[in-house]
Symmetry: C2
Subunit: 523 residues, 2 copies
């Protein structure tokens, strides 16, 4: 556990801005949105946090911790409700203990003890869940143990011929990239949480990565998995492809800690790209940008980057201030030049009224990349100014998008206005597929003191209902957790959730693995 | 049921060659392999087939048939043992009845009756299984019904914006392409069985299609599925992507009729390609061709075609007679020219000693395409000459391939020589991935009269054991069926097969859905 990470907010503690910077941000937000921050609220200190005594039997292993700091740091993910409670010093949801095993054998012993003692096990990953995926409530259990695989962070093997790397699940983005990079390779999977989340967490939540097209989800990069379940180990062979029965890895991908503990994955790596070409285009109307993005997604050109920002998103992230939509497009390759691909893309995009910005004038991609990784810090800072600030995301077909988008803008803004009196809302595409985009929404409003959680719940509920009504998915890459559970259960066939529950009972008969996540309840 | 289809052999009945053509082929095989056909054996006639009376209660529906022709035509797939028994007029494995429902409601009623009456239901697809996937043995059932969705063959909806088409599962390749083509679109999924297999069969068996890279398996083309299980309907939403829990469609894909009847899929379509560029290269050594194919697969150029044929395969299919390996590479797109992609690929391939053949001299791609779709007819004809002739396929990593290939060539040839006295074996890559190829093997030998099945079993067993020993998959696109069942159960985690069995029991409590396929047995 790095002491420099914020225990309540996003990322590195030293990145939390000082009072002057917070004041400036408050003024900027007011200029942008028309509503004022509540003021400079004080962040909590670790010493202020009070925890109740750990419940349940203590597993007799030397990799178990129950000191206050370890428990506090493993209490929450980074959702708005998580940060809100953390900022308020409310750590009632703290795990009773934290387990930091050193190998699979220790994980097996832990699951055995927990199964026998009715202790819930909550795999922590990197602690960046924004959907209540790691909250240690337990569901009638004797106690809850947060499981942190931080000690399992090694690249165990690298096959340069097949371009595969076997990596332990606790490895975070920078650690695994450093180990791969030493041999000239990269996984090139860059979710927004990249610095703080783990390979195991990516697999468990089907994370969405860097590439805008083709191989985007971690699902596509996984060649095999290892998982320790309460009933024993589960391991698949690394295979480029197979047509043998339903794919076992696809049951691990998205299991969110409910079936077992993912301990390793063999992933598809590639040489670092040496060839890059990109451009930023402006569109007078967001709708024209949408059409352009669709044309590019359906062109077969497979750009590595294709992000569309609506005018408010472009403004919020400092990419463009002319009230225009921005499309950032990029190509990359390890060997062949990609200028010709970019030229083809630009030819296509100009047909939709895209106006090319010279890179020297407006480095949209560079600014955007920085803003992309900084965005979660912005949310923590806005919370410290008493503002409601959150995001949600989805994926739908191109034919659904215009209606869905209009309904979301209308419905969520109305909910924000009704509950907070003010409303800011922006949209971008994080990924584009031949059959549809993955739109991502940011919303900000003045949160009423003490009523923040209720307001958030109403706004979030409104958004989720609109997604469900339009047949859009409840999550493209934020996972289900506890937050999206009711809509997930409506999204997939009832026979599927009930069948999965049979799988869960088979692998985890004592029901200790991350209870309360994914499913509403067992039948 | 088209009367022009062969009831015992591959494809169209009128394509079975006359005696003179068979004699010529026999001479060609002898020249190529050094061993002689047994002679011109006589194909069976439908009138010669004798069936026992149907067992079990007759479902009281007007879409049930029990005439001899319907039962005979639904007895076998197209594996070597299937054709061997069919050619010998042995139809002991005939289903008791054939169901040809007109809609989902009729399927529901059928499953209800079958569940109550312990009748096994075997989804027939297009009847092209080569792994015993549709054999109507039953496993202690009162009777067996072959389920033919031939009446469900319509494209129900086409969304040109999202490029999605909702298609009934009984639609065969030509029928669905004709309906899509009328609106300017194509699915471009061309398994070797394309003319005779169905969309539902492709989904049930995770078929491998036309494209050599990127979106190759039907898995990648499926946006949603509908399945009628004995416990009710299962339907997913068409979504470009989702990160919500384990993917429900991935449980349907590869289920081989054991969980329910796939009735529809919404699939990703595209405009017909207008831009094409391709080339044929020769390599003195197969190993150099392998290295070249790997470089291309790992280049990020995403060719639509990349087939490597070893010298014997090139000879067998009339693509090249100079004892050289042949690499056929192609690019296609709907909009942008692809010559530049081909030029990049050729630059890469020449580094490995690839010698370019001008298209005018040697149209490798054209000859290969014709030979590809003709190959199954060749097998039927060889069977009628008393020859053992079959194929098997797999997928492995690039680092595994050389060792695996050497072991297969040695082991399978030895088994052929030991059992038949003669041996011909060739190899091609059907697909290439960044992490490995999908090699496909053809073997021919002189089959001993009356001992064909025993010989085939020994050779097949040898091949499967070698695949398993090297960590290669038991099937890249031929599916599991009954034939590959023992090795499938060893390939995937034991906890996975036992968990899937719980899913099976949940969806199909009476155990009527294609019993004996995929799993060895329930726990």
């Amino acid at each position: 556990m790095n002491q420099d990470t914020s225990f309540w907010g996003w990322g590195w503690a030293h990145r939390f801005p000082d009072d002057e910077a917070r004041l400036q941000l408050g003024q900027l937000v007011q200029a942008l949105t028309g509503f004022a921050p509540r003021g400079l609220l004080s962040p909590p200190t670790l010493a202020q946090v009070e925890l109740t005594a750990p419940r349940g039997p203590r597993p007799p292993f030397d990799f178990i911790q129950d000191d206050a700091e370890a428990r506090t740091r493993h209490t929450y993910g980074k959702s708005y409700p998580d940060q809100l409670r953390g900022f308020a010093g409310d750590y009632a949801a703290a795990p009773d203990r934290v387990a930091r095993p050193n190998n699979e054998a220790e994980i097996e012993r832990l699951l055995e003890f927990a199964s026998a003692s009715q202790l819930a096990i909550v795999p922590f990953g990197g602690g960046t869940s924004v959907t209540g995926g790691i909250e240690c409530r337990g569901e009638g259990h004797a106690g809850v143990i947060s499981l942190d695989l931080g000690h399992l962070d090694q690249v165990l093997a690298l096959d340069p011929i097949a371009r595969l790397a076997r990596i332990q699940a606790g490895a975070k983005g920078p650690a695994l990239e450093a180990q791969l990079g030493a041999q000239g390779y990269t996984l090139r999977h860059f979710p927004q949480s990249f610095e703080h989340s783990t390979l195991g967490g990516w697999v468990a939540t089907r994370a969405g990565g860097h590439f805008a097209t083709v191989y985007t989800h971690i699902d596509d990069l996984v060649a095999s998995t290892r998982m320790i379940t309460p009933q024993g180990a589960w391991a698949t062979r690394p295979l480029p492809a197979s047509g043998a029965g339903p794919a076992p890895d696809r049951l691990v991908l998205g299991s969110e800690g409910t079936l077992g503990v993912i301990t390793e994955a063999t992933v598809r790596i590639r040489p670092r790209p040496t060839q890059r070409a990109g451009a930023t285009l402006l569109f007078d109307r967001f709708e024209a940008g949408v059409e352009a993005a669709r044309a590019l997604a359906q062109s077969g050109l497979h750009p590595s980057n294709c992000r569309l920002l609506d005018p408010r998103e472009a403004l919020l992230f400092g990419v463009n201030a002319e009230n225009k939509a921005v499309l950032i497009v990029g190509f990359e390759a390890a060997q062949h030049p990609v200028e010709v691909d970019l030229a083809r893309a630009l030819e296509l995009l100009r047909d939709f009224g895209g106006e090319l910005r010279p890179a020297a004038v407006d480095d949209g991609a560079g600014r955007w990349k920085q803003a992309f990784f900084d965005a979660p810090y912005l949310q923590s800072t806005l919370i410290s100014l008493g503002l409601l600030a959150d995001t949600f995301e989805t994926c739908c077909t191109w034919s659904t998008f215009p209606t869905l988008h209009a309904a979301l803008i209308k419905g969520v803004r109305e909910a924000l206005k009704r509950t907070t009196g003010g409303a800011f809302m922006s949209c971008r595409f994080t990924h584009v597929y031949p059959d549809g985009p993955a739109p991502y929404y940011t919303f900000v409003g003045p949160a009423p003191a003490g009523g923040e959680l209720a307001v958030w719940q109403e706004v979030k509920h409104t958004a989720c209902e609109i997604l469900a009504q339009h047949g859009a998915t409840i999550t493209h890459h934020h996972a289900v957790g506890r937050t999206h559970r009711p809509w997930y259960c409506k999204e997939v066939p009832e026979l599927f959730t009930s069948a999965l529950w049979e799988v869960k009972r088979h692998l985890d008969p004592a029901g200790i693995m991350n209870p309360g996540v994914l499913w509403e309840k067992g039948p």
